[in-house]
Amino acid sequence: MIYTVAAFAILVTISLALARAFMGPTLYDRILAVNMVGTKTVLLIAVFAVVSERTDMLDIALMYALINFIGVVAVLKLVEQGNFHTSGDDGKGGPSLK
């Protein structure tokens, strides 16, 4: 019962985030929404694993969290530099607020 509510709430959150991913005025909004969808998916898998009493599903949840995080970092690197090979240490340092 409570699991149905939990799964439903997660799905509502995912659809809200997906709406933002499609609407998102900037590229960064879309990445943010996709990251949020990933985190919620991890929770959904965890809930499913506990409902179905399959412990091995939790490995998949952990794996999903991992791939989600590294995927976001990879996309950001691509957006920031346009390629994967530069180390980005161009001496510019941080942005200026002025």
Binding site: G93, G94, P95, L97
Partner: protein, 162 residues
């Protein structure tokens, strides 16, 4: 190359404990495979350290546990504040972007501080370097709270490292 043996051992013990926790199988084959994996990973990590010249900050202490309890409370309070702002009609936020001077000594405590700022909703650290951390805050109160240095004082400092 200053690279304390203590770090290698603590990393190895931590990884092996993690293996035992993940696996849950205590027969000889699995335990020895875990030991072998731990040794391989520690070797690779050691190689990374010697090549990119950044030592692995491996030791944690009890201060960190106290900091986590502090952080848990902060996160709950900040969450309630942001949720109130979400459901308050009309103009509900006053965003700020400012630089905060850092007094922390080691990279590890700077990173812990920046992650703690990001973890409490209402403030997000947007840039981090040796001297300052740039913060975007949702409200003037959150910004002032950060300026008071309450959280920076709670971050555990690792004096041993420098």
């Amino acid at each position: 190359m200053k690279y304390p043996v203590k770090h290698i051992i603590s990393l190895g013990v931590l990884l092996f404990a993690l293996w035992l926790g993940l696996s849950g199988q205590l027969n000889a084959l699995m335990v020895s495979l875990g030991l072998a994996s731990t040794i391989v990973i520690v070797a690779i990590t050691h190689r990374m350290d010697t090549i990119d010249n950044e030592t692995y900050p491996a030791h944690m202490n009890l201060l960190l546990l106290r900091f986590w309890l502090f952080l848990a409370r902060e996160v709950i309070v900040a969450n309630i504040d942001v949720i109130k702002r979400i459901f308050r009609p009309g103009k509900n936020i006053s965003p700020q972007l400012f630089e905060l001077p850092l007094t922390l000594k080691t990279d590890l405590s700077r990173v812990i501080y920046a992650n703690a700022i990001t973890m409490t909703p209402g403030t997000v650290s947007t840039n981090l370097d040796k001297k300052t951390v740039t913060v975007h805050a949702l409200s003037i109160e959150a910004a002032q709270d950060l300026y008071s240095g309450r959280m920076a004082n709670a971050v555990p400092e690792d004096y041993e490292d420098e």
